[in-house]
Symmetry: C2
């Protein structure tokens, strides 16, 4: 059997694409579908960890049992502008990941479509940067709260506010889980995009 392609007459590239599709093996996108399904599952994990981080940080609040006449000792995420940024940014990342689920489903249904995958890679990279920046800045403050800094004369506050410190540290760890999963999502998507 031989196929005749008239090159001079059909400069339309779709015809040639169709010819290439006919010639290729019957199930070409098996592993791409596998990557798309893994993408969807990892995305669910990233949603859980990012929203979990945001909620954990937002509910961190500790009031010490003793107080003076004029002042009650209280620590909450409101006290640190970095933690406020953390709550807002992680909520944004979680919201984006929820909204990206339909696009992930599209790549499961049509593993060869490059459009949705490209869209996901670019937006994933932007939100990876957002998640990393808020996670790292919160980590810097948590480190200071635990250890303090002698040269700047900043004292560690975790001796007094132990529960507050534990809760914010947990939120930071959860945000780093989201960062690692997002990194993995980008690597998987670009592998699926690059190999044919």
């Amino acid at each position: 059997m031989s196929t005749i392609i008239d090159v001079a007459e059909s400069s339309n590239p779709h015809v040639n694409e169709k010819a290439a599709l006919i010639a290729s093996p019957q199930k070409p996108g098996g592993w791409k579908k596998g990557i798309a399904i893994m993408d969807f599952i990892l995305r669910l994990g990233a949603i859980a960890s990012s929203l979990g981080a945001s909620i954990t940080m937002a509910t961190s609040d500790q009031t010490l049992p003793f107080f003076t006449q004029f002042f009650q000792f209280e620590a909450s995420y409101d006290s640190f502008s970095t933690f406020q940024f953390f709550v807002i940014a992680m909520a944004f990342v979680g919201g984006y990941l929820v909204l990206s689920l339909p696009f992930s489903i599209v790549t499961v249904i049509r593993p060869h479509a490059t459009g949705p995958r490209l869209f996901l890679i670019i937006l994933d990279t932007v939100f990876l940067t957002l998640a990393t920046s808020c996670g790292a800045s919160a980590a810097a403050i948590v480190y200071l709260a635990h250890n303090g800094n002698q040269d700047a004369n900043w004292l560690a506050i975790c001796n007094q506010f132990g529960d507050f410190c534990a809760q914010t540290s947990g939120a930071v760890v959860s945000s780093f889980v989201a960062v690692v999963v997002l990194l993995l999502l980008i690597v998987l998507s670009s592998l699926a995009l690059g190999r044919h």
Copy 2:
């Protein structure tokens, strides 16, 4: 003119690829070459800003002109472990970017090769995360140095150490320039990878 391709005999996909190449327009990779050249130029900018950030932070050091009998007031990047991390991580990012230049040149010479581009996207994403994390954590500390925190009783040190604060702030800004350029590099590379 008509080309005859024997499909039954040649299940080799390269033959079909060649047929598609013949049928496509004469200069198919013009814009991909343009993206590869832009990638190279942006990479040079990212090298300058990341190494500049590292060196600026590493040379930040201020000794106050007054001292007591037992103590001399001095601030340097050594005082803050976050700034030490910043110096090391930005130097790593700069070193990676220098080593990635040959791969960028390969994409200029062969705009259709997906291997080097894929390699660059994945490693760029990893080093984007590293650069963002050290830039954001240093920004959190610089913010504290400027504004302090009343609830934790951490006083602003920028009143005393003005030059030190200015220099570290400059290093943070320079690291954010590197982050933005890396983000742009990933978006450009994935566009070149996704569109055929």
